[in-house]
């Protein structure tokens, strides 16, 4: 009773209609307050999401372009003898090419030369080498090549280095900036799309570092995870839901599976380290081991999703099939399972999306190693997308800041795609009985 209610006896009780009217204002107010809280929570969440996305995209978009410089290089037969192609002195050839634009630099002065060529990425000589090795007839000719510039100059060109900062606080001194500006004035500097971000593996030099190794590693790990967890998870779910006797043991198993889904991923990583690598002697850093670990984590998700999907198939369908004389097996595999498939696939995709973003267990089995080539099999050492983000976030070079954000964007894109597929499947195959 509220305070305003007159004490009984003195006045006749308010009629029902009046009582409803009196309480209505209070009830409406409560509802408004609740709705207000709800809207505030949503606005807060969306704001946070926007801040997150803005910061990631704002940092990351720089990494999708890479500053290059175009040079006319004379492939000097004296520096690069035809018989020893891979071991030629490509560095010197590039220095000479640079020197043509800087006649004031004495190329016999090693320190001055090194300062000059520091504009070019360390990988430039290898790009040139690969070109010449692929086509030895280039020797003796002058060819035009576009090579990436090293990270500090890349940052400079993208405007990430403040030119008005005092010289002593800058990575690049005034001379270095002048030299780069001279190249820029000659219209030799360009900023094309950074295909290396996808086509190259990791590197110590940000301008050369790419995600290929991580993408391939994640692919192998997810494939292993899917191949193991999908059939095992569905099999376990079908047995538990359709065939297993309902008793204390099946209850115990069910509780354990539900608990397993809530175990912190780092624990799975330790388990994998001890069992797969310690006992079974499987290779470290291998996506196969990563996939096994992720399969352990994904399986409970798949089992729970599958059981829910099987339960959602209406009993009338089972009865119909039993009624015409289908055996238990036929009921399950010809009627129930096909109808539950969209739900199972949705659960599986969401489980795999979780696995794709999982970092901690992969760190423990060594998938955060520095590996400069893409794995050609699931047993080669590799990194995965989330661990690559971890490695880059940990690297001191300025260029890795934007690359970390770019890698996050790539990972998010995959996650969004996978979830979109799950939503599409769910809505497409949703049945109404």
């Amino acid at each position: 009773m509220t305070d305003t209610t007159p004490s009984e006896g003195r006045q006749p009780r308010a009629s029902a209609g009046e009582a409803v009217r009196n309480s209505l204002a209070r009830r409406n107010r409560k509802q408004m307050v609740l709705q207000g809280f709800g809207i505030a929570a949503i606005v807060f969440a969306i704001t946070m999401l926007l801040i997150l996305l803005t910061s990631i995209i704002g940092n990351g978009y720089h990494a999708f372009t890479q500053t290059h410089v175009e040079l006319d290089v004379f492939i000097d037969p004296e520096e690069i003898p035809e018989e020893g192609l891979p071991r030629g002195d490509y560095d010197d050839v590039l220095a000479v090419a640079m020197g043509t634009h800087f006649p004031d630099v004495d190329l016999s002065d090693r320190i001055a030369t090194r300062e000059l060529t520091s504009i070019l990425s360390n990988g430039a000589q290898y790009i040139l080498r690969d070109k010449v090795v692929a086509d030895p007839s280039l020797i003796g000719q002058t060819i035009s090549v576009k090579v990436p510039v090293s990270d500090p100059y890349d940052q400079l060109h993208k405007g990430l280095v403040e030119r008005d900062t005092e010289e002593q606080f800058r990575r690049l001194d005034n001379d270095a900036i002048d030299r780069f500006d001279r190249l820029d004035d000659l219209d030799l500097v360009s900023k094309p799309l950074n295909t290396g971000l996808i086509t190259q593996a990791d590197s110590r030099f940000p301008e050369l570092a790419g995600l290929k190794g991580a993408l391939v590693g994640s692919f192998w790990a997810l494939l292993t995870c899917f191949v193991i967890s999908f059939p095992l998870g569905i099999g376990a779910a079908i047995y538990l839901e359709e065939f297993a006797p309902k008793n204390r043991w099946s209850d115990l198993i069910e509780i354990n599976i539900n608990n397993l889904a809530a175990v912190p991923s780092v624990v799975f990583g330790l388990l994998a380290l001890a069992v797969f690598i310690g006992w079974f002697g499987l290779p470290r850093s291998a996506p196969f081991v990563g996939g096994l670990t992720l399969a352990l984590m994904t399986m409970p998700t798949i089992i729970i999703a599958t059981r829910a999907a099987l339960k959602a198939v209406p009993p009338s369908i089972r009865e119909a099939a039993l009624g015409v004389g289908a055996s238990k097996n036929q009921v399950v595999f010809q009627h129930v399972l096909p109808l539950a498939m969209p739900g199972i696939l949705t659960g599986t995709i969401i489980g795999l999306a979780q696995a794709l973003g999982e970092t901690a267990p992969l760190l423990l089995i060594g998938m955060n190693a520095f590996i400069t080539s893409a794995a050609s099999s699931p047993f080669d050492s590799a990194t995965a997308l989330p661990t690559q983000i971890f490695i880059w976030a940990d690297s001191p070079e300025r260029g890795f800041v934007s690359r970390t954000s770019a890698a996050i964007m790539v990972l998010l894109m995959f996650l969004i795609t996978m979830n979109a597929i799950a939503i599409y499947l769910r809505s497409k195959f949703e049945r109404k009985w």
């Binding site: 309902k246 369908i317 089972r318 119909a320 009624g323 015409v324 004389g325 055996s327 009627h335 109808l339």
Partner: protein, 265 residues
Amino acid sequence: MYDAPHKDKDVTQNDIKISARDVQVFYGDTQAIKDVDVEIDDKTVTAFIGPSGCGKSTFLRCLNRMNDTIDICRIEGKISIDGEDIYDPSIDPVQLRAKVGMVFQKPNPFPKSIYENVAYGPKIHGMARNKAELDEIVENALKRAALWNEAKDRLDSPGTGLSGGQQQRLCIARAVATEPEVLLMDEPCSALDPIATAQVEELIDELRQTYSVVIVTHSMQQAARVSQKTAFFHLGNLVEFGDTEQIFTNPKDERTESYITGRIG
């Protein structure tokens, strides 16, 4: 609704198809069926009537061992079809259900094509050697269920796209496609409108030529219209069993009379 003249005349000439002796059914600790003795004739429509929860559906589902799928359900006593105990360990419920077809309360076609719905039973039992034979079985079953004319041009469209009455006839076609000897119907018209109900009732009378039909119904009018024999269940007991005409005109038990005249139920 339709003419069914003197259909009760040939009742006594029929053989006994199903006989139940002293049947008890328990769900856990609750007894749902007590001491039921009944003999169901071949080529006859037998109706089970009674108030909700009286056990008529439970008893019906004992006849094709549908209750086996419920873990806590326990059945005692003896039920035999053609003199063979259907709860004998040597009997496979799958085999039994091919012989005893069932139509359910709510139309439940498989979410597959009309053809697939009817062909499913014959397929899993290996009743057709080739596509032509299967086509023939499907056609005959749909004809028997009076659905052929409506469905012949759309055999590949989904069974769930049919109207409620058509769906129920499709379910009947699916049940007769496996050539059962007994057809169990659990309130087959409760989800249908009066016109569809009339069609299904007409069909039930047709099916009597070939099968022993057992129908559970809430509608006493329906029981009176379609059946030759009627069993009245109350609180798990089989109160009275006899010719439909006798049950409705001259019930021996006062509980039957109360139910029929609308005083209990």
